[in-house]
């Protein structure tokens, strides 16, 4: 067979479990017809009906294969009915042919294998249980027949049970090595302040119950690398000058330093037996205290390194495959962390830009106002009027503005998170200033919870308060504004209630677009409830990674 034909054949059945099962059913139907045609001893019960049923089954199998060959929808739709048909035929065969040459075993294998291929170990287990029960029931029904032999029946039941358990075990095993954890689920847990190496290592260790481990990664193609290791209770970060594994051609390997053994798999799945001294740097291994365990390669968009695990209870050859998955998952965690950090940094940079613009606007206007005031005071002084009061006012304003400027500058400098209490304190200071500025009474209350607030959210809060107060005074002529801040379901909740004119039912509610825009940018939601004499704005901003 030429290579081209081989490739064509491969593509016919690659990722085509439905097709393979349907074809298997057709072959089974035909083979069985041939078998019973040659074997005169079977079937010995309900001969005509058995032949009729087998013919029907063969026809159905061919029809099924033809109909589902290129129709994935139909394949999925008919999967369960076809499965039930297979099981029914199995029962009939057990019932009608239980002699020494009964081909019942083939009919047992088909539904069991197709359940294992198509679905998970659970469906395989259910199918196996159902088939064994059907086997026992059919056996009980024909127990009086002359062809029935109890001994043969018990041995066959034992075979079925063994085979079922084996297939169920394969299903469970496949699930364990392939999907032992979902990188997606980790995102919520992965705080961005956390050391990503520590987090990834802890997760890898937990998944194989290892008592010790190290994660060593550095920029691709460069040394040194950053290392993080956990040994029992002790954890440390360190620098690694030399590569731990000399040859990066094995994504996962088991090592035993004392025996100088390394076991790995070739891409075709065959084992490869190597000397540990060939692959693993002895000095680095000694420094880590490696004896026996697993090493898996870790690759991310920009980093390359090794995940090393030791003190793994019941380590086995299966851990080679598991190691490969662990290495991939570890890379995914590191990548996600890098992405998250990049998004955070970008958001912080944008915040700084906005802040710079705000500083510019506010400070320029303030200074311009101050200059005009001084001009006015100069004139008044020239005409002999008393200016002391005006000068005092100006001095107070300057001191207040100084506070605001300090807030801006510290916001620019600060780390990426602040405490909720700190955010509330700053909001109170701002509320005081706004009260003075707009001649209203503005109060901030908080329910005393603790939470870490990303800096951009804290700045958003301040802007939202400024805009909400300005809106309430400008549009609603409010005299009193109550602000409540709290945390609920990982969301920051800001409620602003004012006693302004509100929106009368006859007038459509005007959307506070500037507020809305800012809230949407923070992936939050805004709800406005207004009636004459009161307006309530309820804003919810996500605290988590999605923000």
């Amino acid at each position: 067979m030429s290579l081209l034909q081989l490739t064509a054949l491969q593509s016919l059945f690659r990722y085509q479990s439905g097709r393979v099962i349907a074809l298997g059913r057709v072959m089974l139907g035909i083979m069985f017809m041939i078998a019973v045609a040659f074997d005169h001893s079977e079937p010995h019960l309900a001969i005509f009906r058995t032949y009729a049923m087998l013919t029907l089954y063969g026809a159905v199998a061919i029809l099924l294969a033809a109909a589902t060959w290129r129709d994935w929808w139909l394949d999925a739709r008919l999967a369960v009915p076809a499965h039930l048909t297979d099981m029914t035929v199995f029962t009939v065969i057990v019932f009608s042919a239980n002699g020494t040459t009964s081909p019942f075993f083939l009919f047992f294998i088909l539904p069991l294998l197709s359940a294992a291929i198509r679905w998970s170990w659970r469906e395989t287990a259910i199918t196996a249980t159902a088939l064994i029960l059907l086997f026992l029931i059919a056996g009980a029904l024909i127990a009086g027949d002359h062809s029935f032999e109890l001994e043969r029946f018990v041995i066959r039941a034992g075979h079925l049970l063994n085979l079922s358990l084996l297939l169920i075990w394969f299903g469970v095993h496949q699930l364990r090595t392939r999907l032992f954890f979902h990188a997606d689920d980790l995102d919520a847990e992965l705080g961005h302040r956390e050391n990503p190496l520590a987090r990834a290592l802890e997760l890898a260790m937990t998944s194989v119950a290892a008592r010790g481990g190290a994660l060593i990664v550095g920029p691709t193609g460069e040394e040194p690398s950053d290392g993080y290791s956990i040994n029992g209770e002790e954890a440390r970060s360190y620098n690694v000058e030399r590569p731990l594994v000399r040859n990066a051609t094995h994504p996962s390997l088991l090592y035993d330093m004392a025996e100088d053994h390394v076991l790995t798999r070739r891409p075709d799945g065959h084992f490869r037996f190597l000397d540990a001294s060939e692959l693993v740097d002895r000095e680095e291994a000694l420094a880590l205290g490696l004896r026996e365990g697993l090493i898996a390669e870790v690759r991310t968009g920009t980093l390359h390194g090794w995940l090393v695990l030791w003190d793994i209870p019941e380590i086995s050859t299966d851990y080679i495959d598991l190691g490969r998955e662990l290495g991939r998952a570890t890379g995914a965690i590191l990548d996600r962390h890098a992405l998250f950090t990049a998004i955070e940094t970008g958001a912080a940079a944008r915040t700084r830009l906005t802040l710079a613009r705000d500083v510019h606007d506010s400070v320029i206007q303030f200074l311009a106002g101050t200059a005009i005031r001084l001009e006015a005071i100069k004139r008044a002084a020239k005409s002999g009027a008393a200016v002391e009061g005006d000068l005092d006012d100006l001095k107070r304003l300057l001191v207040e503005e100084q506070g605001e400027l300090r807030g801006f500058v510290s916001a620019l400098r600060r780390d990426r998170e602040v405490d909720l209490a700190e955010a509330v304190a700053e909001l109170r200071v701002l509320a005081d200033r706004l009260s003075h500025q707009w001649s209203v009474e503005c109060r901030v209350s908080a329910n005393g919870e603790t939470a870490a607030i990303p800096i951009r959210l804290q700045l958003d809060l301040q802007h939202l308060l400024r805009e909400a107060v300005a809106n309430a005074v400008r549009h609603g002529r409010a005299k009193r504004i109550d602000v409540a801040l709290g945390v609920q379901d990982n969301h920051l909740q800001l409620d602003v209630a004012d006693n302004g004119s509100g929106f009368s039912p006859s007038r459509p509610t005007v959307e506070p677009w500037s507020l809305k825009e800012r809230v949407e940018r923070a992936h939050g939601s805004l709800r406005l409830v207004s009636a004459p004499g009161a307006t309530n704005i309820s804003i919810s901003l996500p605290l988590g990674a999605a923000a």
């Binding site: 206007q365 311009a368 200059a371 005009i372 707009w438």
Partner: protein, 205 residues
């Protein structure tokens, strides 16, 4: 005595201007903090002079000026600004107020401007005049409109919405948006109103 209406939303500037006009030949009739507020106070108070900020919370002071320039009797207007971009400078020059002052200039210039305008003269901050000149030069050196852009600008001038423009030109609304933003960038205008205002100038080139 000259009656004055002050339109500025910043509390510090408002208070400072109030102080500056105190005990002078000017009588401050009131203060507006938004475009809507300004429009209603203008028709109610009928001041002789308006000190008008360009950036207001619900729109542009230029909109107030535009509305005034269509009115039969209009007060003298002094635009106050902390800085304008090109499109604002060009729009302001077109609307031709009696005075323009930068808030960041020496306040004595502001009083000089107010006195000159109140006496029937014109007073434009030299820095604004210079910036406007530069903006005009930049606008003149902008590439001419393509045939498609010309059609689009014409339709914007007629006051059509994006959906109607799309139907008219046989393209999708999204395409209209893309084209419009390209035109905004090309001619440094901020929105369709400004584009409509400059449409005659752009199409005639």
């Amino acid at each position: 005595m000259t009656t004055v209406l002050l339109v500025d939303d910043h509390p510090m500037i408002g208070a400072a201007l109030e102080m500056l006009l105190r005990d002078t030949d000017y009588e401050l009739l009131g203060r507006a903090r938004s475009v809507a507020d300004a429009n209603s106070k203008l028709s109610k108070l009928k001041p002789d002079l308006v000190l008008l900020d360009v950036n207001l919370p619900d729109g542009s002071g230029l909109d107030v000026l535009r509305k005034l320039s269509r009115a039969r009797s209009r007060p003298n207007v002094i635009l106050l600004t902390a800085g304008m971009d090109d499109s604002q400078s060009l729009a302001a020059a077109e609307l031709d107020p009696q005075g323009m002052v930068l808030k960041t200039s020496d306040p004595s210039l502001l009083t000089e401007c107010i006195d000159t305008v109140a006496a029937g003269g014109r007073w434009i901050d030299p820095e604004i005049a210079q910036r406007t000149g530069q903006a005009q030069e930049r606008a003149a050196s902008a590439p001419p409109l393509t045939r498609r852009e010309r059609e689009l600008v014409e339709l914007v001038r007629q006051g059509l919405r994006n959906r109607d423009i799309a139907a008219e030109l046989g393209v999708t609304e999204g395409t209209v948006k893309v084209y419009l933003h390209a035109i905004f960038d090309k001619f440094r205008v901020g929105n369709r109103t400004e584009l409509a205002l400059r449409a005659a100038d752009l199409i005639s080139r």
